[in-house]
């Protein structure tokens, strides 16, 4: 058994780290302060292929698979968690929905510009009455003269305000509901989508989140992702993959917090000696390192499962659940050790602290992840629990 990563991944990681440290690190604080997406840096990142890392080269991607994608998310998040939301929403769910179930023609037309980063994607699932219970969506698509007309409002859409393409889930047959009556579409901004309220957020402020409104938006039948009626399956498959990378982004965030703790413990003196000499600080470092290494093993193994076409859904839930919790714990420990400095707006830790919280919430709250993991395990011994 050889667990070393092929060398191309080392160079890929180095390139991504260079892009993040040279292009994003210098502007991250200002982008957070002003709640502005750093578009200049995004252009450089797109040119280096960062918006299509996992996808086949045939469709403008890098062909680096899920393994390349978790490395991307880890390195992006290590420098700028808000950017991991922009990249994750774009690749991990918006473009991924097209990749998992789109036809060749649809991929050529829409996945290619997304992978090249010349167009930005958003994933439109959540509605006022349908978040973690995604089957409760109300957005409606009605067939009319050879195309579909979509009406409804999606909320909390990452990249919503500046996206060019939207992967959208809508009800096409209310009688069937999630089991055969929900369809996934790819919708162009030019088809008439409107941006509603832009959220003012506590964290991930350099990513932009908004309502996306569909008011009589006409979409060609050719823009159905996968098959009519099977959109719920497409979106759930997409979210399974997305969970791996929430874990990967959390890994990057936790790694960064650990580095900050070690650095501060080495330099800051309390009671006449560096903090690092305090045993309780050593315990925090050791505990956190153990968590981070465990998470790294899990995230990379799950990416390997994906790339080798093995079942991975349960592992993906654990990536998201434990990853987000470890990242929160890491920034919390970092705050503990930094004292008042941790709260200062002039020090990057408070940004990490604000940014970490979302990972426990989005792409299915951690409570939902726990329920699914437990039910999945119980099902194996014959215990079936209906919602």
């Amino acid at each position: 058994m050889d667990l070393t990563l092929p060398k191309e991944y080392d160079l890929l990681r180095q390139m991504i780290r260079d892009v993040m440290e040279n292009e994003f690190a210098p502007v991250a604080e200002e982008a957070d302060e002003k709640a502005e997406v750093p578009f200049d840096a995004i252009k450089v990142a797109a040119k280096a292929g960062l918006f299509g890392i996992p996808f086949p080269q045939q469709y403008g991607g890098s062909g680096a698979g899920e393994m390349g994608y978790v490395i991307l998310m880890e390195e992006v998040s290590r420098v700028d968690s808000a950017m991991s939301t922009v990249v994750g929403a774009h690749i991990g769910i918006a473009a991924m929905a097209l990749y998992v179930d789109g036809s060749h023609a649809l991929k050529e037309k829409y996945l290619t510009p997304l992978a090249q980063g010349t167009k930005i994607g958003a994933f439109c699932l959540t509605e006022p009455g349908a978040g973690s219970d995604a089957a409760a969506i109300k957005t409606r698509a009605i067939r009319s003269n050879g195309h579909w007309v979509i009406n409804g409002t999606k909320i909390y859409i990452s990249n919503g305000p500046f996206a060019d393409l939207f992967s959208v889930l809508a009800v096409t047959d209310p009688a069937l509901g999630a089991r055969g009556g929900v369809t996934a579409f790819v919708v162009e901004k030019e088809m008439g989508t409107k941006i509603g309220v832009i959220e003012k957020k506590l964290g991930i402020r350099a990513s932009s989140t908004s309502e996306v409104i569909f008011d009589e938006v006409e979409v060609p039948t050719a823009n159905i992702i996968g098959q009519e009626g099977l959109g719920f399956v497409t979106f759930m498959k997409t979210l399974d993959l997305g969970r791996v990378t929430v874990g990967a982004a959390s890994l990057g965030g936790a790694q960064k917090a650990l580095e900050m703790i070690i650095d501060y413990a080495r330099l800051a003196e309390k009671f006449g000696m560096p903090l690092a000499h305090q045993q309780q600080v050593q315990f925090m470092i050791a505990d956190l390192y153990s968590d981070v290494e465990m998470l790294r093993g899990l995230v990379y193994r799950t990416a390997w499962l994906v790339d080798n076409h093995r079942p991975f859904a349960r592992e993906a839930y654990v990536c998201k659940l434990r990853g987000s919790e470890i990242a929160s714990k890491a920034v919390s420990y970092a705050m503990e050790i930094h004292g008042v400095l941790g709260l200062s707006r002039d020090y990057p830790l408070e940004r990490s602290f604000r940014d970490a919280r979302i990972a426990e919430i989005f792409e299915g709250t951690n409570e939902i992840q726990r329920i699914i993991i437990a039910r999945d395990l119980l099902k194996e011994v014959g215990v079936h629990i209906e919602p």
Binding site: E8, L12, M15, A48, G52, I53, Q57, G61, S62, G63
Partner: protein, 260 residues
């Protein structure tokens, strides 16, 4: 025409540690990278290729098989070919011998009009490869520590940096140029090119036999006798008084020490 860019693999200065004895470099855990000035040289060569697609850019390096990684990186950045000069005799070569081997490879390539490399290797602080190569290639002109390199009318032109000044220089091809690091960041390789550099493309390996170099006839390598840290710097002091008084005191001190 062909441009050869000579690339060195070095330890990332940020990852090496001095051993406790202070007599050696502790290489454990150190990462190996492309010598940064060479990266700028490569970037300049690739800009020439962008302006004139008939130009072929060839990356060349020398050493142990692991050096291949910097050549894969060069391929990912956009080089047409990458060649590693490597065998048991070659890896032992240093300085003068090294220039002879590289020059032999450049002659074997034919139609090489420009040889580029970084202005120095950050690990040894040496910048002699360029001039040594120019001699070995038959006294080609050499532009040392050059910025804003241009190719025009069969000449290579640029600003040479020496003694804290820049000088306009232009020489007819073929020539050698050693390139300065400038503030603009060189290009990033595209993700797909990184994957292809390892999964699709090849690094050619040339041995001394293929080059027609007799390893026993190479100049003796320079050898290191001892490695030590520079002495610790002494604390400075502050000259007190008003600016005029302080300046007078300072001048008096410098005169007393025969500095001025």
């Amino acid at each position: 025409m062909r441009i050869v860019v000579c690339i060195k693999q070095i330890f990332d200065p940020e990852t090496i540690k001095i051993s406790r004895s202070q007599q050696a470099i502790d290489e454990r855990g150190a990462r190996k990278i492309m010598n940064p000035p060479d990266r700028w040289a490569l970037d300049a060569a690739l800009r020439f290729k962008e302006a004139d697609p008939s130009i072929e850019v060839i990356a060349l390096s020398l050493g142990e098989p692991e050096v291949e990684d910097v050549l894969r990186e060069a391929l990912a950045l956009g080089c047409d070919r990458a060649i590693l000069l490597s065998d048991a005799a070659i890896v032992k070569a240093r300085t003068a011998g090294l220039a002879q081997i590289i020059a032999a490879a450049i002659k074997r390539l034919r139609n090489v009009q420009l040889v580029m490399t970084g202005h120095m290797a950050l690990d040894t602080g040496s910048g002699t490869l360029g001039p040594r190569l120019a001699i070995e290639l038959g006294d080609w002109p050499v532009l040392l520590s050059v910025d804003q390199l241009r190719l025009e009318h069969g000449h290579v032109t640029g600003l040479q940096y020496a003694d804290e000044k820049y000088y306009d220089s232009s020489y007819p091809l073929p020539a050698v140029a050693t390139v300065l690091q400038t503030p603009e960041h060189p290009r990033y390789p595209h993700g797909a090119e990184i994957i292809n550099a390892y999964r699709v493309r090849n690094v050619e390996i040339w041995s001394s036999l293929a080059l027609g170099v007799d390893p026993t006839a190479l100049p003796a390598p320079t050898t290191g006798r001892q490695l030590r840290l520079p002495p610790a710097r002494q604390m400075g002091f502050i000259v007190e008084g008003s600016p005029q008084e302080a300046a007078q005191t300072l001048v008096a001190m410098l005169r007393a020490r025969r500095v001025i």
